[in-house]
């Protein structure tokens, strides 16, 4: 016992540990205690026991919601910059598609390119889904005639313990959960009419979700691949 108060004060190290947890030690005494704590497992256990017991008193303290700006400040400090939302992560792709569509409209509108609607309707849309960090890649095709969407992993594997989910991101719209990628073989799904009509120019994304946590509202796990449907 390197910090001895037994001559003047009741108790010993255990009481000192309690005072330490309460924040009642100060100055030289605090520094001496922390120096001893660093190399004394029994004292560390005593501090942990007091912290656990005294935390019962925290239940008396009412919860108070912090102002919304606090989370933004914390995220900027933690992540280095305002974190992109799911939608913003895909935005460059969708913006590219919108620009291409606008350009096509201008070109056909001024008669530079002959309209070829029947051909375009029949051809499938294809997408290559890649990751920024070399995680998973997929190829996907959408057949307008049958409204069938097919997607298959072409490289990489989900992170351990994660399951891949496929999302459609219609231009200017919110992500829609398409379904879980099978462990092997292609994902196939006939899309409902409203979603099928939005596939031209839409983005596709794959998120890696922890088991049992997927929410149809938005991905909770990281986006491991993304891409955009383009005309053949």
């Amino acid at each position: 016992m390197s910090v001895d108060h037994s001559d003047t004060l009741p108790g010993g190290d255990s009481e000192l540990a309690g005072e330490y947890v309460l924040g009642l030690l100060e100055g030289v005494e605090l520094h001496a205690f922390e120096a001893q704590l660093a190399s004394d497992p029994a004292l560390q256990a005593e501090v942990a026991a007091w912290a656990a017991h005294l935390s019962e008193l925290a239940a008396d303290i009412p919860e108070v919601a912090p102002a919304p700006a606090v989370l933004r400040r914390i995220e900027i400090a933690a992540f280095g910059a305002a974190p992109p939302s799911f939608w913003r992560q895909l935005w460059p792709y969708v913006l590219g598609a919108a620009a291409a569509a606008a350009l096509a409209w201008v070109a056909t509108g001024v008669g530079l390119v002959p309209m070829s609607e029947p051909v375009r309707d029949a051809a499938p849309l294809t997408a290559r889904l890649e990751s920024d960090s070399g995680g998973v890649s997929l190829s996907a095709a959408f057949h307008p005639a049958t409204a069938e969407l097919v997607a298959e992993v072409t490289g990489g594997a989900p992170p351990p313990g994660r399951i891949l989910f496929l999302w459609a991101v219609p231009e200017g719209g919110t992500p829609r959960l398409l379904g879980q990628m099978p462990d092997s073989g292609p994902f196939r799904r006939d899309l409902p009419l409203d979603l099928a009509s939005e596939m031209p120019g839409a983005g596709l994304a794959v998120s890696a979700e922890a088991e049992g946590t997927v929410s149809p509202a938005a991905p909770l796990g990281p986006i491991v691949a993304r891409g955009l449907f383009t005309q053949p």
Binding site: A58, D60, V64, P66, L71, A77, A78, L220
Partner: protein
């Protein structure tokens, strides 16, 4: 909020997952902000302490397992430590923001406290501590008061306050060990 849910989120935060961090903040920030506000007494300083707490969680979520503590014990300890550090640093600087009413924040339920979920500590307090010492302990914990303040409010000397507190801690420890 389930322990397993918080632990699962901490594991994902340790893996650098930002969405997990946001879910975790949504679940825990009101509790931890309450703890900071109890100690510091005004929102700007409590927000500053809260920011330090969550930065530490983001950077050191992997250390949680090493401590072997319950997640809420670990979190509340982080929040109290950050708030008490902040209080000490700025002890010489008067708060310029309007203080919150601490008596509203911390209703003194006193020795007749019949909280249904009273745990071992509260039961031990009822068994072995005089009511005024229980109140002193609660104020030291929830408001991070120093011996000087506790002694002044109790109308005793600092040495007497400390002797009372240490005697109380000794009795509590013995009761908790039974």
């Amino acid at each position: 909020m389930a322990v397993s849910e918080i632990e699962a989120l901490l594991a994902r935060i340790a893996g650098g997952e930002r969405t997990a961090f946001r879910s975790f903040y949504a679940l825990t920030s009101a509790r931890l902000f309450g703890v900071c506000l109890g100690v510091l007494g005004d929102r700007p300083r409590a927000e500053e302490a809260l920011q330090q707490v969550y930065l530490r969680i983001w950077e050191q979520a992997d250390r949680y397992r090493v401590t072997g503590q319950e997640p809420m014990v670990w979190l509340v300890t982080l929040a109290r430590d950050a708030a008490i550090d902040c209080k000490r640093r700025e002890a010489r600087r008067p708060a310029d923001a309007a203080p919150v009413d601490l008596d509203d924040l911390l209703p003194d339920t006193g020795p007749g406290d019949r909280t249904p979920d009273a745990g071992p500590l509260r039961l031990a307090c009822r068994m072995v501590l005089p009511p005024d010492l229980t109140a002193m302990l609660r104020r030291a914990y929830a408001r991070g008061e120093s011996y000087e303040t506790l002694a002044r409010d109790a109308g005793v000397s600092r040495d007497t306050a400390r002797q009372l507190m240490r005697r109380g801690l000794k009795s509590l420890r013995a009761e908790l060990d039974r």
